[in-house]
Symmetry: C2
Subunit: 193 residues, 2 copies
């Protein structure tokens, strides 16, 4: 197994363990057992348990960002761009429900030990939304009454809250319907009139 | 000091300590020191550290719910009701920033040990928003394309995310502006057209 594959396998195991036991109750030894490697092997790739969570976050944000950027490439209309963003966000969440739980539940509590550089990727993710809102304001399809940065956080907050509902309880609606509802609410909310 | 005052003082101290050190790194002894009572006194009122967090949550939700209900009493227009809800939510947050941090950051991670009955109050809070959306749909001012339950979670998610921003970083805009932006975005988002 290549070093890259082994690193990947350890990160996947960390997601399973953190999601099952909670981050604070998890130990590096649990992750090693889940990944089928020796405890020491983990320390070849990661500093400690906190570093595992940070790397899970960084990997996920990098994947989500590149998926978002690839999907946005062919689109020029800011309204369609925001629709695309919401759908791609939920595609990522649906594909990896345990990961969604770790990111919405465990990471939030643990954000205290994240340094500024780790949070930069989250800022970039918000930045993609803010830029779409700005573009829409420039061509007059989105209202200038909403600050793009605040609008981006509101959009992200709505997505994140519904994601939390799936991660922690039986959702009231299927994911595809929720996604359509959010597109309706958030796009209308931003639209200029 | 009455038992009720002492209970209140311990809960306030718990908020300070959890906000400063994080819930998992806090000990009941830290809360006792902060409240200026003996460790044993805390166990007269609360079972353990988890119970302290749950009681902080229950107290806050009860206060927020009764403030929301009092503010809504004189209002009949669902649009004005939702405006009022958003403003009252932020009034509660602004008045107690440490509490906001404990609820958005610490509680989310710890929701695993909360029982169904504790989360009932959160369900009631979401229910107030969902009911406003339903009323608006009944008289035709809000779009029927958004499921009231999903809409309520989206509204709450947007409020909660901005609240998290204040709790963990320097906000990009003053609270009053953010509040106005959210009213604009969320009310327009729900409006029938």
């Amino acid at each position: 197994m290549s070093a890259k594959d082994k690193r990947r396998r350890i990160l996947d195991a960390a997601v399973q363990v953190f999601s099952r036991n909670g981050f604070f109750n998890s130990k590096v030894a649990h992750v090693a057992r889940e990944a089928g490697v020796a405890d020491g092997t983990i320390y070849l790739y990661f500093k400690n348990k906190e570093d595992l969570l940070i790397q899970v976050f960084i990997d996920t944000m990098e994947t989500a960002l590149s998926k978002q950027q690839a999907a946005l490439e062919g689109i020029t209309d800011p309204v369609e761009k925001l629709q695309s963003f919401i759908h791609v966000h939920f595609d990522v969440v649906k594909a990896t429900p345990n990961l969604a739980e770790v990111l919405t539940v465990e990471l939030r509590q643990s954000s205290k030990f994240m340094r500024g550089s780790d949070l930069r990727l989250f800022g970039q993710y918000l930045g993609v939304i803010a830029r779409i809102i700005e573009e829409g304001q420039e061509i007059g399809v989105f209202s200038r009454l909403v600050n793009p940065r605040t609008g981006a956080r509101a959009v992200f907050g709505a997505l994140d809250e519904l994601q939390l509902e799936w991660a922690t309880s039986d959702p009231a609606q299927p994911v595809s319907e929720v996604c359509g509802n959010l597109v309706e609410l958030l796009l209308n909310g931003l639209r200029a009139r």
